[in-house]
């Protein structure tokens, strides 16, 4: 079938998976491996204290102690190993909290946006009321009640952030619901839930993907803040936020104790957001 359109190259415009997708995936992938195999990869025991080796500088600075690549903190613990172990907490929180928040928020948003009517009324009012609570206070309250620990943090994040997903997904679902292919599904005889899952959900996934990766980045930061103020996990296991808190005290004598965990935190959060953007571009078959 001949037509002028195939000669003007419109259908040939494609976005290529960019550098940022690969870079961010590489960083996060590395972090995952480090976190999974931390006990075997980390060069030293993260909890082992050796006061004679306190505040040793990183390997490339004069006066460094060999084997401690990023130096030691004031208690002689290896910074590198602590960062690697800290990744376990950070990534667990990111993945679990991110996933749960996404599932709850996106589901409610989808139902509200597509089914409309009293379902939408109920869920929207719920979101409005929920968002009226000040989030930081809310999470501190929650942890005070539940006691510190990994699951408390995860719960705190889920409880506060699901509304973000719900709002955005609701708007998307509403826009999708106006599309003719939804009406077409109805004419074909599809039921409402079926239409929602088959027609709307696939078109909402790009947005959900971006939100999910953003949420993971946020989860990492929230965990870091909570461990900074000592409200995080109760054990001695190292956390990036905790290391930053400790590093703050000795920034003049041992800058590396603060800088390296901070840098790792920054790179991780950045990677999450770039991953989301990259994935969205990569998997979007519709290009205008």
């Amino acid at each position: 079938m001949a037509d002028a359109e195939t000669l003007d190259g419109r259908s040939q415009v494609r976005r290529r998976a960019g550098l940022r997708l690969w870079l961010s995936a590489a960083w996060l992938g590395t972090l995952c491996i480090l976190a999974l195999f931390a006990p075997w990869i980390a060069p030293k025991d993260p909890l082992a204290q050796d006061l004679f080796l306190g505040r040793m500088p990183p390997a490339w600075v004069a006066g460094a102690e060999p084997g401690y690549w990023l130096g030691t903190d004031s208690l002689g613990r290896d910074v590198l190993s602590r960062i690697i172990h800290g990744a376990r907490v950070a990534l667990s929180v990111a993945l679990i909290a991110g996933a749960i928040t996404c599932v709850i928020g996106a589901t409610l948003g989808l139902l509200a946006g597509f089914l409309r009517g009293w379902v939408d009324l109920l869920i929207s009012r719920l979101i409005d009321i929920w968002m009226a609570f000040p989030p930081v206070l809310f999470s501190i309250l929650l942890i005070a009640v539940l006691g510190p620990g990994l699951w408390s943090i995860i719960l705190a994040i889920v409880v506060i952030d699901w509304t973000r997903f719900a709002r955005v997904v609701r708007a998307e679902a509403m826009a999708q619901g106006a599309m003719d292919y939804v009406a077409s599904a109805r004419v074909a005889g599809r039921g409402r839930i079926g239409t929602m899952l088959r027609e709307i959900l696939p078109n909402v996934l790009p947005t959900v993907t971006v939100l999910l990766t953003l949420e993971m980045g946020i989860a990492v930061i929230v965990e870091a803040i909570l461990s900074f103020v000592n409200l995080s996990i109760s054990t001695d296991a190292p956390t990036w936020g905790g290391m930053i808190a400790e590093g703050r005290a000795s920034i003049h004598q041992a800058w590396w104790v603060l800088v390296f965990p901070l840098g790792t935190l920054f790179l991780t959060v950045l990677s999450f957001s770039q991953l989301g953007e990259g994935l969205k571009d990569r998997f979007d078959p519709v290009l205008r």
């Binding site: 001949a2 037509d3 002028a4 359109e5 000669l7 003007d8 190259g9 419109r10 040939q12 415009v13």
Partner: protein
């Protein structure tokens, strides 16, 4: 001397296939020129190229655009914008999205005059009122205070027309200005554009896919296929005896309500194959050129 002279203009996607293939056409002051194009993404590309509003994924790969004696493509960007702003205007396709829903109508007409062309506000507002009356809007004051969503599509298109003529441009590019409108409203709008154009002596570049509209509104027309000009003649000559087989096929495909047997003959595959061969030959010679 033509006011607008496009010479061998080629446009393409960056690192991609061409959208316009050495298009040449001229529009004199006071003349309306139609451009008919079958389909495809590049239909408004000529107009956008002239006005300097090509999308970022598209670039000019060759040719010249002469506006009032100056080649726009040789000018530095700021100078080009200034010239285009002073000399040309656009009547866009979709009246629903062409007006900013957050601003009232009045500022949308006067802001350009005041901020960019340096008019006094009082003068700009008087001009806006005059123009709205000229486009047959009954209560210009009330309309100037209204928001776009309070007005109908036909009325919005009138406002866009008034806005285009506001700075007395010498060239107007009308990009399918009536496609989104009802057929009865379309007639009024086209009549209005023709009258305004005749009254102000403006050159008009009219982009459309509707041969019926071209026959009523334009003096000359260019037919393009895949960004290549296949015919360029006066409207009278064209409808009496189109020279290129593709143009003849387009005419045969256009239904006429006075004759139930006429029209609805799709362009035959042989004609398409022939014109595609022409395009391919053009591409080959351009590659070696």
């Amino acid at each position: 001397m033509s006011f607008l002279a496009i010479k061998n203009l080629s446009i393409g996607l960056k690192k991609g296939p061409p959208l316009l293939r050495r298009v040449s056409l001229e529009v004199s002051s006071g003349e309306e020129r139609g451009r008919v194009w079958e389909s495809g993404a590049g239909k408004s590309m000529i107009g956008k190229a002239v006005l300097g509003i090509l999308p970022p994924s598209v670039e000019v790969t060759g040719g010249e655009i002469w506006l009032d004696g100056t080649d726009l493509l040789r000018l530095p960007l700021a100078e080009r914008r200034r010239r285009i702003g002073a000399l040309a205007a656009l009547i866009p396709q979709d009246p629903l999205t062409a007006l900013n829903p957050s601003h009232r109508i009045g500022p949308q007409i006067t802001d350009r005059l005041v901020d960019i062309l340096g008019w006094r506000r009082a003068d700009a507002e008087a001009r806006a009122r005059d123009l709205l009356t000229e486009v047959q809007i009954a209560e210009p004051e009330r309309v100037m205070r209204a928001y776009p969503h309070e007005l109908s599509g036909g009325m919005r298109q009138r406002i866009l027309i008034a806005s285009a003529f506001a700075a007395e441009p010498k060239l107007i590019v009308a990009d399918e200005p009536t496609t989104a409108l009802d057929v009865t409203v379309q007639k009024q709008i086209l009549k209005l554009i023709s009258q305004m154009q005749a009254r102000h002596g403006t050159a008009l570049l009219f982009v459309t896919h509707d041969l019926g509209v071209v026959s009523k509104v334009c003096q000359r027309l260019s037919v393009l296929y895949a960004g290549m000009v296949v015919e360029d003649s006066t409207v009278g000559d064209f409808f009496a005896a189109p020279r290129h087989p593709y143009s003849a096929a387009l005419l045969a495909a256009t239904p006429k309500y006075t004759d139930p047997q006429a029209g609805l003959n799709p362009v035959p595959d042989s004609v398409i194959a022939a014109v595609r061969a022409e395009v391919a030959a053009f591409d080959r010679s351009a590659a070696h050129g």
